[in-house]
């Protein structure tokens, strides 16, 4: 922060969700790498919150970044509704806001009469990809369960919908759908309970990889690792090994490292020319043992 006040260089604030989550950590690293290459073009402040649920803290961060004189805020909102007013205020203060990762709620945006461009992947599509890959290994009527993310997050809901789309298309039977609140230990507990209750379960679709890890441990403990297929999401480093071993069937890569970069580039673009904002979709890829 010592090289400050070169008004020519805009400050771009990257406000992420929980840096306790590897996904955002990767995002941050990607952004920092990009910044290193383009150090002359902008200053970067990357911040995140303690845990995914701490919406108030993230609002504080947005406000602080405005106070800090950021020219643009690239935000991965922890809550798709509650962050809108804060972002609107930032925009009113002349800050460019780019939404990445977790899309703002349309209705709220409409109510606030703002439009914030979204740069990010289609989570529903990603989840459907993973689900379809899984479906290839299932028969119609097979029992499956979904481990959802936190119920108030947009991407959590999208992933759940994507899984459901694929499972319905394949004719699988979703016997249980419970939230693991994105956490490994919580998911482990929930999965254990589901395994006890549903003895014929064939597959578990987890809305992120942390929960998939918890699910893997639970199936191992129950002695069912061979019988149950597990699907994750996010492609964190910890699952690479498991993908190779077959402990996890597949996961989805949304290119976290690129996500922030797309957002930052978009922000720079908008700062340069005050163009009408449009959404921009980033790629999602299915990762399996073969693609590694």
């Amino acid at each position: 922060g010592c090289k400050k006040r070169q008004s020519a260089r805009p400050r771009i604030a990257l406000v992420m969700k929980s840096l306790a989550n590897e996904f955002f950590k990767t995002m941050e690293d990607g952004a920092r790498a990009h910044h290193k290459q383009h150090a002359g073009q902008y200053d970067l402040i990357a911040v995140g919150i303690k845990d995914e649920l701490d919406v108030a803290q993230q609002i504080k961060l947005v406000e602080q970044m405005v106070a800090q004189g950021a020219g643009a805020i690239v935000i991965a909102p922890a809550d798709s509704k509650a962050l809108v007013p804060a972002c609107k205020r930032a925009m009113d203060a002349g800050v460019v806001v780019i939404n990445i990762d977790n899309k703002f709620d349309e209705a709220v945006l409409a109510d606030k009469q703002v439009s914030i461009p979204f740069v990010g992947p289609d989570n529903r599509k990603g989840a459907r990809l993973a689900g379809e890959h899984l479906a290839g290994k299932l028969k119609a009527g097979d029992e499956v369960a979904i481990i959802e993310g936190a119920p108030n997050t947009f991407n959590g809901i999208q992933r759940k919908l994507g899984f459901e789309d694929a499972m319905k298309a394949a004719g699988a039977n979703i016997v249980s759908s419970q939230s693991g609140y994105w956490e490994m230990a919580r998911a482990n507990q929930v999965v254990s309970a589901i395994l006890t209750e549903h003895l014929n379960l064939k597959a578990l679709l987890c809305a992120n990889d942390s929960m998939a890890l918890g699910a893997v441990a639970a199936t191992k403990a129950a002695g069912k690792s061979d019988a149950i297929l597990i699907v994750g999401f996010d492609n964190i480093s910890a699952v690479q090994e498991l993908l190779k071993e077959g402990g996890i069937l597949c996961t989805v890569d949304q290119h976290a490292d690129k996500l922030a970069v797309y957002g930052i580039e978009y922000a720079l673009e908008m700062l340069a020319k005050e163009g009408a904002p449009a959404d921009k979709e980033t790629p999602v890829d299915l990762i399996t043992a073969e693609t590694l």
Binding site: K50, D51, A56, Q64, Q68, A82
Partner: protein, 331 residues
């Protein structure tokens, strides 16, 4: 001789009353100094720290924690603790949001319902604590779970977006939340040090048995403190909901520990009997400035946590020395 005696005593009392002002100042001087040091450090280290917007931002951000910390100060003084404030804040906010969004009730009625929710939670805490003489720690731990669950049930686990219908309270640019918080701090300090209720609170925290043996029932006093804490938490919920224009069932997670940390940094004893509302306010400010400064400097979250933890411990160590210097040394 009696007259000279009395005169002497009268003057000595006068003398006492006057130098109490510096003592009063000394009480807060340490905290103010710590705050000033932080401000200077961040002023030098982070660009744009010394700006009006930044202070305005911090001021509005601390308002809900401040109000909760006032309630927590009272609870700690009676040697209690309230771990449920975070959940109760979420529940009260959830009630507010649901009243407005789902039932379309007008703001004043929704606020009344929100405050009622806070009071009911405080009442439940207080009744269980006093009726069965249970440790507040465990009772409010139970309430932490109950209120959080209730908040999710009320909102169906969905953030309720309310919009400017409630946002008006936060009155942009006017610092209304901060002003409300400051007024509550001042009122709280007056209640504590100048009213019969306040003195009874200190008395109950110091020696509950002695209070009971003096023919004063400590239970209504304790009950009152828990209700007050619930009520203030609900006010904090109104303010935070207004600031976000949305009610989030996950709001206030971890708020209890943050509020307790702030209150203790302010020098209030966890053993009860000793505390000051104004000092708690300083405690809140110190933590808030620290967090704001660190995030503006772009310090990573893990490092931030390590620093915050160290500052909490350092603050209570300093407080310890402050007390030792003021009292005669008792090892």
């Amino acid at each position: 001789m009696a007259t000279t005696e009395n005169e002497r005593r009268a003057t000595s009392i006068e003398r006492r009353r006057l130098p109490s002002m510096p003592a009063f100042v000394a009480d807060y001087l340490g905290m103010a100094l710590a705050l000033a040091v932080l401000l200077v450090i961040f002023g030098l280290a982070a660009g744009n720290f010394f700006t009006l917007t930044n202070f305005r931002t911090i001021a509005n951000q601390v308002s809900d924690t401040t109000i909760v910390a006032v309630g927590m100060t009272f609870v700690l003084i009676i040697a209690g603790i309230d771990l449920s404030v975070g959940s109760v804040m979420a529940l009260a906010g959830a009630v507010l949001g649901t009243c407005m969004v789902r039932f379309g009730l007008p703001l004043p009625i929704a606020i009344a319902a929100c405050l009622a929710a806070g009071i009911v939670c405080g009442l439940a805490n207080g009744l269980v604590v006093t009726r069965w003489r249970l440790p507040p720690f465990i009772v409010t731990l139970g309430m932490l779970e109950i209120a959080r669950g209730a908040a999710h049930l009320v909102t169906d686990s969905q953030t309720k977006y309310i919009g400017s219908a409630v946002g008006v309270i936060a009155g942009r640019g006017l610092l209304i939340p901060f002003i409300v918080a400051v007024i509550i701090v001042i009122l709280g300090q007056l209640v504590l040090s100048r009213t019969v209720f306040g003195r009874y609170i200190v008395a109950v925290g110091t020696n509950e048995e002695a209070v009971r043996l003096s023919g004063i029932d400590p239970r209504p006093i304790k009950l009152g403190v828990f209700v007050l804490c619930g009520f203030l938490t609900a006010i904090a919920a109104v303010i935070s909901t207004a600031r976000m224009e949305a009610a989030d069932p996950n709001a206030g997670a971890g708020l209890e520990l943050r509020a307790i940390a702030a209150v203790v940094i302010g020098g209030t004893s966890l053993m009860g009997g000793r505390g000051s509302v104004v000092s708690s306010f300083f405690g809140v400010l110190i933590i808030a400035v620290l967090e704001a400064g660190l995030s503006q400097m772009g310090v990573g979250e893990p490092t931030k946590r390590v620093i915050t933890g160290c500052v909490i411990i350092a603050a209570v160590i300093l407080d310890q020395y402050r007390h030792r210097i003021r009292k005669t040394p008792k090892p």
